[in-house]
């Protein structure tokens, strides 16, 4: 991302630029391009984390607003993607903490016998998304970054500010929980089909 510094008026807001804000005529189209190019990345992380379209859109708008403010700090295209993933994940984790209080349920404590009510859901993908949404916030973030963004544990650890081993163990436990829940779900489906 090649960005020069020039004096100019902010076309998006119509206001004079200040230090640290988008201030060049080159930056505004670059910012608009960034929003267009990465909107699905940001929105998808938010949606899979929050499992609610309105909340996800609000979170995504917040992230782009923050990007607008901190655009001068972005150094490259890869840095932009990392920044967006990191900011979105942390914004969603904050949002989940605000909504649910400090959710400190360990993965082992999740009730495997009564998974979310997805028996009537014909789509496996939707069922899985719901199961992911039932995971604790930290584990959910790891799973979303791993399987939506296809990141390895080291990159996830950088984004979440966690040790790599913590990420690996969270991922492993989350997969175990998901597998058990899915098995319980399929069993329930078979039972209802037999009846």
């Amino acid at each position: 991302m090649d960005r020069g510094r020039m004096d100019g008026t902010d076309a998006m807001t119509g206001q004079s630029p200040e230090e640290g804000m988008i201030s060049t005529s080159e930056e505004i189209p670059a910012f608009n391009e960034a929003v267009t190019a990465h909107q699905s990345l940001v929105f998808s992380i938010a949606y899979h984390m929050l499992h609610n379209v309105a909340l996800a859109e609000d979170a995504a708008q917040d992230v782009f607003l923050r990007l607008y403010r901190d655009y001068h700090k972005i150094q490259s295209a890869s840095h932009l993607v990392h920044w967006l993933r990191r900011t979105t994940t942390h914004r969603c984790l904050d949002s989940l903490r605000r909504v649910m209080g400090r959710c400190r349920v360990a993965l082992d404590e999740i009730d495997l016998v009564s998974p979310p009510s997805v028996e009537n859901d014909p789509l496996q993908a939707r069922a899985l998304r719901r199961l992911v949404a039932g995971l604790p916030a930290g584990a959910r973030a790891v799973v979303v970054l791993r399987y939506q963004e296809d990141l390895d544990p080291r990159e996830i650890a950088r984004i979440l500010d966690l040790p790599v081993n913590t990420v690996k163990s969270r991922l492993h436990r989350a997969l175990t929980v998901l597998r058990d829940r899915l098995a319980a779900l399929e069993e329930a489906r078979h039972a209802s089909a037999r009846e």
């Binding site: 998006m12 206001q15 200040e18 230090e19 998808s44 859109e57 992911v132």
Partner: protein
């Protein structure tokens, strides 16, 4: 586990945001900018930081000055105490000398009186001259 991972990749694929998402983002940026939140937040933070740094500097200088002043006055007090103790010790030494001198002069005076035969303190005892005249 591999099947589950594949299923997860399928179900957690990127999802397109609702239509007009970009337009709403721009509108929100414009709204926030017109409210001054976007632009002023940084400058307010900047000024707040500057103010906090200045306050911290002034506080540090003030604490340093107070500390130095206390150290100086403590040193002055200690020096004054030392001088007073020295003066007292000199005075005590002089007094001792004077006392010794006074006692020794009184003692010599008494000895002189005894040698001269003068009665020493007891007026009821008859003098040797009176004893001799009575006897005669």
């Amino acid at each position: 586990m591999r099947r589950l991972e594949n299923d997860l990749q399928d179900s957690l694929r990127r999802k397109a945001p609702p239509p007009d998402f970009v337009t709403r983002v721009r509108a929100r940026i414009e709204r926030d900018a017109s409210l001054g939140t976007v632009h002023s937040r940084r400058s307010v933070t900047h000024w707040f930081r500057m103010l906090a740094a200045a306050a911290a500097l002034v506080a540090a200088i003030g604490v340093g000055l107070v500390f130095e002043q206390r150290q100086r006055s403590r040193a002055r007090r200690e020096a004054a105490l030392q001088r007073t103790l020295t003066a007292l010790s000199i005075a005590a030494h002089h007094l001792n000398r004077i006392e010794r001198k006074a006692f020794s002069s009184v003692r010599w005076e008494r000895i002189g009186e005894q040698l001269a035969g003068a009665p020493l303190g007891d007026s009821s005892r008859p003098s040797s001259e009176a004893v001799h005249s009575n006897g005669a």
